[in-house]
């Protein structure tokens, strides 16, 4: 890194300098180190301990061995919740990414007014996680909501289907809300597209490459680092999705939208089974880690970094 790491025996000055650097580094990162210890590491260890106890949040935690983890396997709602979360993540993430990429490609053209369109498409992303939007969503897709109103006009017969209240569609209304926030990925794609040298396309045109070939042989490979970033962030955020499900459907109907993060919250703060909730949160962490590692490992095979 610096001259100080060289193998030669250090002079007094260099040693002093190294020590000063270590002290300065420590001083500058101390807020973060403190937070890492007090607000992250200790709570994590405590959570691991609690996951082996029975604890209602008031009395003392009682040792419960592996029972929380065993109970999980017999908890039907737990399994349902895992399945629904996977459904949510694996429909939402590819859908949102393709929407973001598709719109970004259209917006990379040289038409006038592109900036305005980009702004308008991006605005919903500002409001991801907003309670106001969740409330609006539940009303838009409710029995007497605007979606039914529009469908009534288009189909010519009265529609009173409760999109957020029926088991068949409740989860998809949440997925649609997630897709609505495609703007930040879109912006990242737009700037990624702008970094692809125009000369590649010109060369491809001369060679007579079709639009599809230009897309699959130039655009897509060149974008893989950006796709990778969006994919990782998208998966992690989707696994953590919580407030939309709590506000719009509260996990219902029939637990059809009981996303994993919401179920943890309910076990902990509605039923006060805090030991059980901690055990589940460790399972969530395990699942996210497995997927992150999988995506990172697989990235060697499909992500192309330009040297």
């Amino acid at each position: 890194m610096t001259a100080a790491t060289a193998k030669k025996p250090m002079t007094k000055g260099a040693r002093l300098r190294k020590r000063r650097n270590n002290l300065a580094g420590l001083a500058f990162i101390s807020p973060w180190l403190f937070g890492l210890l007090v607000f992250t590491s200790i709570p994590m260890l405590y959570s691991l301990y609690l996951s082996f106890t029975k604890f209602d949040g008031l009395g003392d935690p009682k040792w419960y061995g592996l029972n929380n983890y065993i109970n999980m396997f017999q908890d039907g709602v737990f399994w349902k919740s895992v399945g629904i979360t996977f459904q949510y993540v694996f429909i939402l993430v590819p859908l949102r990414l393709s929407a973001a990429l598709g719109v970004a490609m259209v917006l990379a053209s040289n038409h006038r007014g592109i900036g305005l369109y980009r702004t308008v498409y991006y605005i919903p992303s500002l409001l991801s996680g907003s309670v106001a939007i969740a409330i609006i969503w539940s009303k838009l897709f409710g029995t007497d909501g605007a979606i039914n109103g529009i469908l009534t006009m288009m189909l010519g017969r009265p529609m009173t289907y409760n999109w957020v209240g029926e088991p068949a569609t409740a989860l998809y209304s949440l997925i649609l809300l997630g897709c609505w926030h495609f703007g930040s990925s879109m912006l990242i794609f737009v700037s990624g597209l702008k970094q692809i040298p125009q000369s590649y396309y010109e060369a491809a045109l001369i060679d007579g490459a079709s639009p599809w070939q230009r897309f699959s042989r130039i655009t897509l490979p060149m974008l893989t680092p950006v796709i990778f970033f969006n994919l990782v962030m998208g998966i992690i955020n989707a696994f953590k999705a919580f407030s939309e499900a709590l506000i719009i459907t509260d996990g219902g109907p029939m637990n059809r939208t009981m996303l994993f993060a919401l179920y943890i919250y309910k076990q902990g703060f509605t039923y006060f089974k805090m030991g059980y909730a901690c055990a589940m949160s460790w399972v969530l962490l395990l699942i996210i880690s497995v997927f992150s590692i999988f995506v990172f490992k697989s990235s060697d095979g499909w992500v192309h970094y330009e040297e």
Binding site: N21, M105, V131, A146, S191, K240
Partner: protein, 288 residues
């Protein structure tokens, strides 16, 4: 993309332009529809909100919804909830941005022992779901007597936010090192280098972090939901959630007036700092 290569405005490019703009506007209308519907509903007479649900133009504009919505919120008015949201947002933003910038400087510039390991841990914590920390943190803050105060929400921000640290590291790495070296010639230590050179030069990433910090803390839901149970302490997010219960809420236009007001600060910040935000979002995905 390909239109740019063609030099002349042929009939075909004009036609493709018309098609493009028609589709782009149509898509924009769909994207913005929920927001327009919310604003329109906030101005309708209450009984019309769901009877003329598709109409975006109120039969008469009822500004009074905003007054009624403001006041019909339990024992308190929305003044309390706005005030609480602003307190949380302002302190979280200041704490998050200031500490993240300090920490980022160490990672970007100072060659201290263990820097690589610390950086790996930092990136790891970005992936950590808040749910894992939810219960132990709650118990910890409860034993400290911090329940029903803003402290559990604000104080952790003062320890730096991984995403903002990362954003600032990326930006500081782009600042030419010659500037540091020149400062070193003048006998400046690390603190001086930070305050005199990198802090002022990293203004763009500071602003980007500040915007995100404001958005996240303004819309923060999970923390207040757990730590604040007294209505006096509710921020907007919790107040809106509490008053949106279909079994008790009847004044929907008043509620929509308040949801509209709640996103006004978000849109204002966007209008004024759009450039920083758009560039900030774009760079996060690019440089790693």
């Amino acid at each position: 993309m390909m239109q740019s290569i063609k030099p002349r405005m042929s009939r075909r490019t004009i036609r493709s332009g018309v098609i493009f703009h028609t589709l782009a506007v149509l898509f924009g209308v769909i994207m913005i529809y929920p927001l327009v519907w919310m604003v329109a509903s906030s101005l309708k007479p209450n009984e019309e909100v769901f009877t003329t649900v598709t109409s975006l133009i109120p039969s008469r504009v009822v500004w009074h919804n905003y007054v009624e919505g403001w006041q019909s919120a339990g024992r308190y008015t929305y003044a309390t909830y706005f005030k609480n949201s602003f307190i949380i947002a302002i302190f979280s933003t200041i704490g998050g941005v200031a500490s993240s910038s300090l920490v980022a400087f160490a990672f970007a510039r100072i060659p201290f022992a263990g820097r690589k390991a610390c950086f790996a841990i930092l990136m790891g914590t970005m992936l950590l779901p808040a749910q894992v920390l939810l219960i132990p943190q709650y118990i910890m803050f409860k034993s400290m007597g911090w329940i029903n105060t803003f402290l559990p929400i604000i104080i952790p921000q003062f320890c730096g936010v991984p995403f903002f640290i990362f954003l600032n590291i990326q930006f500081m790495r782009g600042v030419p090192r010659e500037l540091d070296e020149a400062a070193e010639m003048d006998g400046c230590g690390w603190l001086k280098k930070y305050t005199m050179i990198l802090l002022p030069l990293s203004k763009p990433s500071l602003i980007t972090s500040a915007i995100f910090a404001f958005y996240w803390s303004w819309q923060e839901f999970l923390g207040p939901l757990i730590y604040l149970s007294k209505p006096r302490m509710y921020p907007l997010s919790i107040a809106l959630k509490m008053f949106s219960d279909p079994s008790t809420q009847t004044n929907w236009s008043g509620l929509f007036a308040m949801t509209t007001l709640s996103i006004v600060p978000v849109l204002l910040v966007f209008m004024f700092f759009q450039k920083y935000l758009v560039e900030g979002v774009a760079t996060t995905g690019m440089k790693n």
